[in-house]
């Protein structure tokens, strides 16, 4: 069944069950991926997957939901029945409705949908990439984690009020994680990930060079003394930490009592006036952009922090109604509708006179720790408490020279971190999760082995 037929089938089955109000989200995906091991194909994968999430409203206007991969006539009937049963347990204290924006026009960017190149081509490209990476330095002995994939998918949202929207797109991903070994030293590993609309859009040489350079740069390492340090976050690591604490801007988290913010936090000063943060799901660099969210609300650019102060929260339909505002296009369809950011953009605002512009990661000659990548986010972040303690890959810089840090964690508090931003570099970098410049923070605790 295609999406129009599914909508018609749901409508017919809902009528039969006397269900007047319903909506659904569906996705249809075809994935192809390859992995290699020293020039040989290791695992080649293909998958065809379909998922349907269906909500119904019962006579008391309570919502029930069911998710299924069985999108047959009988599967749809069963899903409607189960959702109807589940609606008896619908949340009476927080009603859910259709998004008032579910029929608003959506902005579909240039359909950069590519054609599949096929498994054989994927395999050839990945084999060549592995060889080049292995040949890039004598210490790189293997590429234990590698993969090249291409996905083709369609997403649909429709409801009984006549809303219907869909889009389809393609995405490709290449990841290369190399392992370097030298005598009497610990093995070191690092890598790179690149995304594109299709395989032809991925800068493969850049991925190889990044993986090689990063891995080799960690070969000469030393332990670091436990102390407080001046920190420079790479764009990727700063975005990681902002995403980890995005519950500060999340209306769902605020209502659930798991956010550091509260309903009255709009306008609260969190940081230097030089900091602006946006959520911009439709940004041209966002390969994974979606023109609408799980409730059919159009995606849009939203300012989260303006000149250091909280400007907006991200919302679903129900949280927006409670906060007396409009949905922002950040909802995920579920029995309890989730809310999450799309694509974070960090910028330096016009009010930046208090920044220490001499702090530039490429020229500064004083001592600082450069955090390249933060790890173990799920384990080391206490979002509801604001604290974090995270292992990282990075370097200690002293007098213009750098040495890789053997094994260390950075610990602190997100509000302290934001308040102690001392410089926001001018140049932004695009990463897989957003855009940010390098960000400097004074006095964070580093625990090392020394």
């Amino acid at each position: 069944m295609n999406s129009k037929e599914i909508t018609a089938q749901i409508s017919k089955a809902a009528d039969f069950l006397n269900l007047k109000k319903w909506d659904y989200g569906a996705s249809f995906t075809n994935d192809y991926s390859v992995q290699v091991d020293k020039g040989e194909a290791k695992q080649l994968k293909a998958s065809q997957k379909q998922i349907l999430t269906l909500r119904v409203w019962n006579e008391s206007n309570l919502v029930g939901i069911t998710t299924t991969s069985d999108i047959s006539e009988s599967g749809i009937k069963k899903a409607l029945n189960l959702a109807n049963i589940a609606s008896d347990f619908g949340n009476k204290n927080e009603r859910t409705e259709f998004s008032p924006l579910s029929k608003d026009p959506i902005e579909i960017k240039d359909a950069k949908k590519r054609n599949p190149v096929g498994i054989k081509k994927l395999l050839t490209i990945l084999r060549e990439a592995e060889v080049k990476l292995l040949e890039s330095h004598e210490s790189i002995k293997s590429v234990p984690y590698n993969g090249l994939s291409e996905s083709f998918y369609e997403r649909v949202y429709a409801n009984s009020d006549g809303a219907f929207r869909s889009y389809s797109k393609s995405q490709a991903a290449l990841y290369l994680y190399a392992r370097a070994e030298e005598k009497n030293k610990k093995p070191r590993s690092s890598g790179s990930v690149k995304l594109g609309y299709g395989v032809e859009d991925i800068d493969i040489d850049s991925c190889i060079n990044d993986a090689s350079n990063k891995t080799i740069s960690h070969l000469n390492y030393s332990s670091i003394k436990t102390d407080k340090y001046l920190i420079c976050f790479s764009p990727e690591s700063f975005l990681t930490i902002i995403n980890a604490f995005s519950s500060m801007f999340n209306a769902r988290s605020i209502l659930d009592g798991v956010s550091l913010s509260n309903k009255n936090s709009i306008g609260e000063k969190l940081s230097t006036e030089a900091l602006n943060i946006y959520d911009d799901g439709l940004h041209e660099k966002n390969i994974s952009s979606s023109p609408f969210d799980g409730e059919g609300t159009p995606t849009k650019r939203l300012c989260l922090i303006n000149k250091g102060k909280i400007e907006n929260f991200i919302h679903s339909e129900s949280t927006a109604r409670i906060f007396k505002t409009k949905p922002t296009g950040h909802a995920g369809l579920g029995s309890k509708v989730s809310v999450s950011p799309d694509w974070i953009v960090v910028e330096k605002s016009d009010e930046n006179s208090d920044l220490k512009i001499s702090l530039d990661h490429s020229t500064y000659e004083g001592e600082f720790v450069y955090i390249e990548e933060l790890n173990a986010i799920h384990a080391g972040v206490r979002a509801s408490q604001g604290s974090f303690s995270l292992p990282f890959d990075g370097w200690l810089y002293k007098k213009g020279k750098k040495i890789s840090i053997e094994s260390a964690t950075v610990a602190g508090d997100i509000k302290y971190l934001l308040k102690n931003i001392v410089n926001i570099e001018s140049s932004q970098e695009v990463t897989t999760s957003g855009i940010s410049p390098h960000i400097w923070v004074d006095e964070l605790s580093i625990t090392g082995d020394a």
Binding site: R179, N375, T447
Partner: protein, 474 residues
């Protein structure tokens, strides 16, 4: 609930599918595959969430699909699909054959048909009618969250339940033909406590496999008291000072460190990648002689137990480390093919869309002879980790784990609670430093995410003492 309405020429759950499965396998072997494996599943899941004094989410889900894996020499092609018709399954086989570029079909492997059906599901078909109803679950969760409301410092209370019922059919060209029904139930409680600028959280999770009545027997009051006490103890805790120190790790979920830091390095997938330091250490000492470690899938009711693995092999009890000596790796079919280590009944996957891989089941350090007090009394200045949070292991074996509930040890006694602690190290350096094991082995359920998705596991250990480890803090 699990029996689908199936057309002819389609897999029918609860019926004999031998002819159709043999036809598919013959087709793959005929096209030149060395080995053909078919994994088919039908799922019926539900989850319920209680927040404060209300049910805020009830989420049923169901689905079906197949994963088909073809081996040619040491490489494999894997195709997954929701289409369980004969046409759909054959198309998947063709796709896998094409991916592997198999064109030489002269050297054919022999397929002698499927063996007698091993049906592990016979006594389990009634489970779906024996598990608690959504109404029953909701009532008990609401009582549980009410039990968490013990003072006005508790600002958030949550109780969650999930039930996964998975019916599987496994067939392969070595004659394997098995089916099973698996039931996993898990329930968790979470609180956030707050007072002025102080905040803490507490959580506990419980789980079982193959025990439809287990949720009814769950002692929610005891669990609520435990979670409440933990959050109160930590509410005003200071941050721990970083440094090297001796540590006592509590039993139950304390075993997550062994699971993450060492257990994964004993999976053959790590040998295949060349990422384990233990690759050539079989029969060599890799841990302190007080350490014996086991991985098994047979403990009745444990979250990681199974009657048959996802490749059709009955799970075995594998002694991984005996008195500090490495004795065995955890292996699946691909692991045996590529590394030579015999299969251990550990081929596991989240669902049909993942190829099976060597994965842990119930993994624990065996009990020793000491009491918990012996361990603590032996330390003049260190840390007691009563409750562990999550953690991770890097590509070169470094691990770090958050301590959810920790206490300083001074002169052999537990003193003040501390927060923000992280344990940092490397398995091969820490394993020789586990110098004392307690006599109070207990297991705890968890979910393990890795190459073949998220699978149910049990971690465990008695109280153990690590002579020295890096503790991250402020």
């Amino acid at each position: 609930m699990l029996s689908s309405q199936i057309k002819s020429n389609e897999i029918v759950f609860g019926s004999c599918n031998k002819d159709l499965l043999e036809e598919i396998i013959f087709y793959g072997i005929g096209l030149g595959a060395d080995f053909v494996e078919i994994f088919i599943e039908n799922t019926d899941n539900s989850s319920v969430l209680a927040e404060e004094d209300f049910i805020t989410s009830v989420s049923p889900s169901f689905g079906k699909g197949a994963g088909i894996r073809i081996f040619k020499e040491k490489k494999d092609g894997f195709v997954s699909t929701n289409d369980l018709t004969k046409h759909g399954l054959m198309r998947s086989v063709s796709q896998a054959i094409e991916m592997l570029d198999i064109t030489d079909n002269k050297k054919r492997e022999v397929f002698n048909g499927l063996n007698n059906h091993r049906d592990y599901s016979l006594s389990k078909k009634k489970w779906i009618n024996e598990v608690p109803s959504i109404h029953e679950i909701s009532e008990k969760l609401l009582v549980s969250t009410k039990s968490l409301k013990k003072n006005n410092k508790i600002i958030t209370r949550k109780g969650s339940y999930s039930r996964n019922l998975q019916e599987v059919i496994i067939a392969s060209s070595d004659g394997t033909y098995a089916s099973d029904i698996r039931l996993h139930q898990t329930v968790g409680l979470n609180v956030i406590a707050s007072d002025a600028q102080y905040r803490s959280s507490g959580s506990r999770r419980f789980g079982s496999s193959g025990m439809p009545n287990e949720f009814r027997l769950w002692d929610h009051e005891k669990a609520a008291n435990d979670v409440f006490e933990s959050s109160m103890n930590m509410l005003y805790a200071d941050y721990v000072d970083a440094g090297q120190m001796p540590v006592v790790l509590a039993n139950k979920f304390g075993g997550v460190i062994f699971h993450e830091a060492c257990g994964h390095l004993l999976e053959t997938t790590q040998i295949e990648r060349g990422t384990t330091p233990f690759e050539n250490k079989l029969n060599e000492k890799i841990a302190h002689e007080s350490v014996t470690a086991i991985d098994e899938g047979i403990s009745e009711g444990s979250f990681g137990s199974l009657s048959v693995d996802d490749e059709g092999m009955e799970p075995e009890k594998s002694v991984l480390i005996k008195d500090g000596i490495l004795k065995k790796f955890i292996s699946d079919r691909a692991g045996e093919l590529r590394t030579g280590h015999k299969r251990t009944g550990s081929g596991r996957r989240q669902n049909y869309s993942f190829a099976a891989a060597s994965r842990m089941r119930n993994t624990y350090i065996a009990k020793g002879e000491h009491s918990k007090e012996d361990l603590i009394n032996s330390i003049s200045d260190g840390l007691y980790c009563k409750s562990m949070g999550g953690g991770s292991v890097g590509a070169t074996g470094q691990f770090n784990f958050a301590v959810e509930e920790g206490y300083l040890i001074k002169n052999g006694k537990l003193t003040s609670p501390v927060k923000g602690a992280t344990l940092i190290g490397e398995a091969k350096e820490v394993m020789p430093k586990i110098s004392m094991c307690g006599n109070d082995l207990e297991l705890a359920p968890g979910f393990c995410g890795s190459i073949s998705g998220s699978v149910n596991v049990t971690v465990g250990q008695p109280h153990i003492k690590v002579d020295s480890i890096t503790v991250g803090g402020r």
